[in-house]
């Protein structure tokens, strides 16, 4: 077959070359003759081919870029308050940042992953983990808004997250740090044997994406680093890299780097699911918040849950195995066929690839090298598929192009290295500027990668950009991988720390993107759907202002009878039903941020006037020709005054 194909391909190549000579008025003459600038140029009005969702790391947010242009479209607030969109400031979204520790308006957002159906990316939701106060968030890609955040109990440094199984059955949240479970006051030096690591499986309801913790697997006290689902033949399994199999509790850079091999934990989640469905597992008291944003009420609710189902791996024989992997592996990556599991041992000279088939075979023939706390350890040689010899220094993360090639980032030697599956030979390498962490191929974590580009996310950019004081931008670099050799196309700056990314073709998301919220479907309890219904209602010291906005006025725009010491809630509804016409509103002295309200939406902010006077409010988004006139006044009287409550629009208050 190959013998026939080759001449045909060559012939086609010649034909294409001749054809392109004939119409060189068009600049699509093929990979070799076009410049990098042409390849990333998306001309005004045209759309990018791919969406890239790049986490902001310590910014706590998720940013949306277009590829190949590298243009930034949006920063989606997730775990951090965002004044730009009033996220975590307005009354509707404050509950989203609630946790069992109270209101935590920041987190460290690491690994976005897009939902899948049948092993392929479906573009419905992005999941992302908050590391610090363990949480998993779900972002709805019809609105590009965070619509659910679930806290993960018994977890600390929620790092080996948030990766999805091939039908989005589960999002996992593996702990990085092992801790006492349940938490208790105990000496830190007694870590070994006493601390545990929780690997949490969060089920995702197929239609609406509603999340719920199905079970937590309570594992030995290692550090769990990254994870990836099995797919295809290995669907039903999940793989987690570990480090600190030494179970050290101090000076980990030395003490957790002693063992020649750590482990990849292979978890047969289908087996555990079955066990749990048959009544297995132990309910453990445990507080965690479950926050849900409802698009119809435009409001979030936070519920504190009281218990979680835990599973001891020893109670489900055959569900968990340990695969020895050199040395402190970071990325844990499964190829599109589901056969190969790559352990990126960041202190190892070589890259280790395990075979799923060999793993099953070793399990069947009980080829074990021993056990750790009762969990069988498979013989290293019996699970090893191959080794990429000395590919670079500090391998971190591998993705696949779907054409039999793998691309690995090397943090220490600052490069992306391309190598072949099954022959394990290095075929190309390209430098990064500098210190690359993770990389992304659109569809990377699925059975169907779109192997056209690889995006490298770099930690250091010294001298690559205009300096901005001691803190300079971090950046991403885009490489064309459609040919035999990788080609660097573009550098672009990123927000926060570009930690990890997920990407997919724009066409999966674009057609489903919402343009407005329908006013008639607005079920916000304080919504006002017409100017005639606007009002101001006093209830003791609390005043509710039911306000509307439309180009280019508020209704009402004169309010009197507010008193010092009142708690004033502005419930503001945008009556527009036109795409891309939000309005903003802010009130002098308000202790939150402006509201940015989409057409058909209601949002609320709280204002506590401290001084008498007549105080203005105004629209903060340049909405229309008369935007600057979109303003109003609130008269604030002394606490003991008897100014009657009145409001008006277009006439003087009587």
């Amino acid at each position: 077959m190959k013998k026939v194909l080759k001449p045909i391909v060559t012939l086609l190549g010649i034909l294409v070359a001749f054809t392109s000579c004939n119409n060189d008025s068009k600049s699509n003459a093929g990979a070799l003759s076009s410049s990098a600038a042409e390849k990333v140029y998306v001309k005004p009005g045209d759309h990018d081919e791919f969406y890239a969702f790049i986490s902001g790391g310590f910014s706590g947010q998720l940013s949306v870029y277009g590829l190949p242009s590298g243009r930034l479209f949006k920063v989606i607030p997730v775990f951090s308050q965002d004044a730009e969109k009033a996220w975590g400031y307005n009354e509707e979204t404050k509950p989203m940042l609630n946790t069992s520790h109270g209101f935590i308006p920041w987190d460290d957002a690491h690994h976005p992953d897009i939902s899948q159906t049948n092993g392929e990316i479906d573009g419905r939701w992005v999941f992302i983990n908050g590391n610090n106060t363990p949480r998993i968030a779900k972002i709805d890609l019809s609105t590009f808004e965070t619509t659910e955040i679930i806290e993960v109990p018994n977890s600390a440094g929620n790092h080996s997250s948030s990766f999805v199984t091939e039908n989005t059955e589960y999002v996992v949240a593996g702990t990085r740090f092992s801790i006492p479970i349940p938490q208790k006051d105990m000496p830190i030096k007694d870590y070994k044997g006493n601390f545990k690591g929780a690997l949490t499986f969060i089920s995702v309801e197929p239609e609406h994406g509603h999340m719920d913790i199905k079970f937590q697997l309570i594992m030995p006290g290692f550090d769990y680093d990254l994870s990836h689902p099995g797919r295809g033949k290995s669907h039903g399994w999940f793989f987690f890299t570990t480090y600190n199999s030494e179970e050290a509790n101090t000076l980990l850079e030395v003490n957790a780097s002693q063992n020649d091999k750590d482990f990849i934990a292979a978890v047969n989640w289908k087996k555990i699911e079955e066990y749990v469905n048959n009544g297995g597992g132990t309910m453990m008291p445990s507080k965690y918040a479950h926050n849900v944003y409802d698009e119809s009420t435009h409001s979030a609710t936070s519920t504190i849950k009281e218990e979680v189902l835990t599973v001891n791996p020893l109670d489900v024989p055959g569900a968990v195995y340990l695969l020895p992997t050199p040395k402190s592996p970071h990325g844990c990556d499964v190829d599109p066929s589901g056969e190969y599991i790559v352990g990126n041992g960041k202190l190892s000279a070589n890259l280790t690839v395990h075979s799923f088939t060999k793993m099953l075979d070793a399990i069947e023939n009980k080829k074990f090298a021993g056990d750790a706390y009762g969990i069988p350890i498979i013989n290293f040689e019996d699970v090893l598929a191959g080794v990429v010899e000395q590919p670079g220094l500090g391998p971190l993360h591998t993705e696949f192009d779907g054409k039999g090639n793998a691309y690995t980032t090397f943090f220490i030697s600052s490069e992306v290295v391309k190598w072949k599956l099954e022959t394990w030979e290095v075929v190309d390498r390209q430098p990064c500027y500098y210190s690359v962490g993770h990389l992304m191929i659109p569809g990377g974590n699925s059975q169907k990668p779109w192997g056209k580009y690889v995006l490298a996310m770099n930690k250091i950019t010294k001298d690559r950009y205009l300096p901005t004081g001691p803190e300079v931008t971090q950046s991403a670099q885009l490489y064309d991988i459609s040919g035999d050799k990788m080609e660097l196309l573009l550098d672009f700056p990123t927000i926060g720390e570009p930690h990890y990314a997920a990407g997919c073709p724009a066409d999966l998301i674009k057609p489903r993107s919402k343009k407005i919220f329908k006013l008639e479907e607005n079920n916000h309890p304080y919504a006002t759907k017409s100017e005639a219904d606007t009002k101001v209602v006093r209830d003791g010291n609390t005043v509710h202002v039911y306000m509307t906005m439309i180009r280019s006025h508020f209704s009402p725009d004169n309010i009197e009878g507010i008193k010092v010491g009142d708690e004033v809630y502005f419930h503001v509804t945008n009556l527009e039903q036109d795409y891309d016409v939000p309005h903003g509103v802010s009130m002098i002295g308000a202790n939150t941020s402006e509201l940015l309200i989409m057409p058909g939406q209601t949002e609320t902010f709280k204002w506590e006037p401290k001084q008498v006077g007549v105080w203005p409010f105004y629209c903060t988004d340049f909405c229309s020709a008369l935007h600057q006139e979109m303003q109003g006044y609130v008269r604030v009287s002394a606490a003991n005054a008897n100014t009657p409550l009145r409001w008006s629009l277009g006439e003087d208050i009587e």
Binding site: E576, Q577, D578, Y579, A625, L626
Partner: protein, 196 residues
């Protein structure tokens, strides 16, 4: 039944298409509306072409002091009645009448349609010229008179940042075909009358 009467029967029925399809469409194009704003005019209703178009036309137009497009106008009662009555007349003629009556119906329809168009023009003129004296923005023509914002009765016209298109739709085609068919019925009937 004679051939001419069958054609006349068809002619009388065709205008009923106005109850199924819009009569006219006014489209407003502007740079900030990549999807243009547009409204359909039916025999008994105005309707959005894309959701909320009329609301957004009203919002744009209020800057120059134009009134909101009303939910209903008296014509929405008169026009449907007119069509039903003329259809009934047409049917009676088709069954009972001879070709001369077909010509009568043809002329009746021409007269009524012209009156309808004229009424539409008057409405448009009022809508485009009877502006709120407190309008936010006032524009004058080169001769110093107050600029009007009347959409064209038929065709395309630039109005400030908008390009307005006004063209008949499927309903008007049904009406036009009906009228034309009555004339053909007349000619057919006349020819038969002579040959007989």
């Amino acid at each position: 039944m004679k051939k001419s009467n069958i054609i006349m029967l068809l002619a009388a029925i065709l205008p009923l298409g106005l109850f199924l399809f819009p009569l006219w469409r006014i489209t407003l194009e502007a740079p900030q509306y990549p999807t243009p704003l547009a409204m359909n005019i039916h025999i008994n209703d105005f309707s959005d072409v894309h959701p909320h178009d009329i609301k957004n036309i009203n919002l744009m137009n209020h800057y120059v002091g134009m009134k909101y497009i009303p939910d209903a106008i008296p014509e929405f009662k008169i026009f449907p009645l007119g069509i039903i009555i003329t259809t009934v007349i047409g049917l009676i003629i088709a069954f009972k009448g001879n070709y001369k009556w077909f010509l009568f119906w043809f002329i009746l329809m021409i007269v009524l349609s012209s009156a309808g168009l004229y009424d539409f023009y008057i409405w448009e003129h009022d809508y485009g010229h009877n502006l709120d004296p407190k309008a936010i923005m006032k524009f004058t023509n080169p001769d110093g008179s107050i600029m009007g914002f009347q959409p064209p009765l038929f065709g395309t016209k630039d109005i400030l940042n908008f390009t307005a298109h006004s063209y008949p739709r499927l309903g008007a085609l049904f009406l036009g075909l009906g009228i034309a068919a009555s004339f053909i019925a007349y000619l057919t009937g006349k020819k038969n009358h002579k040959t007989v």
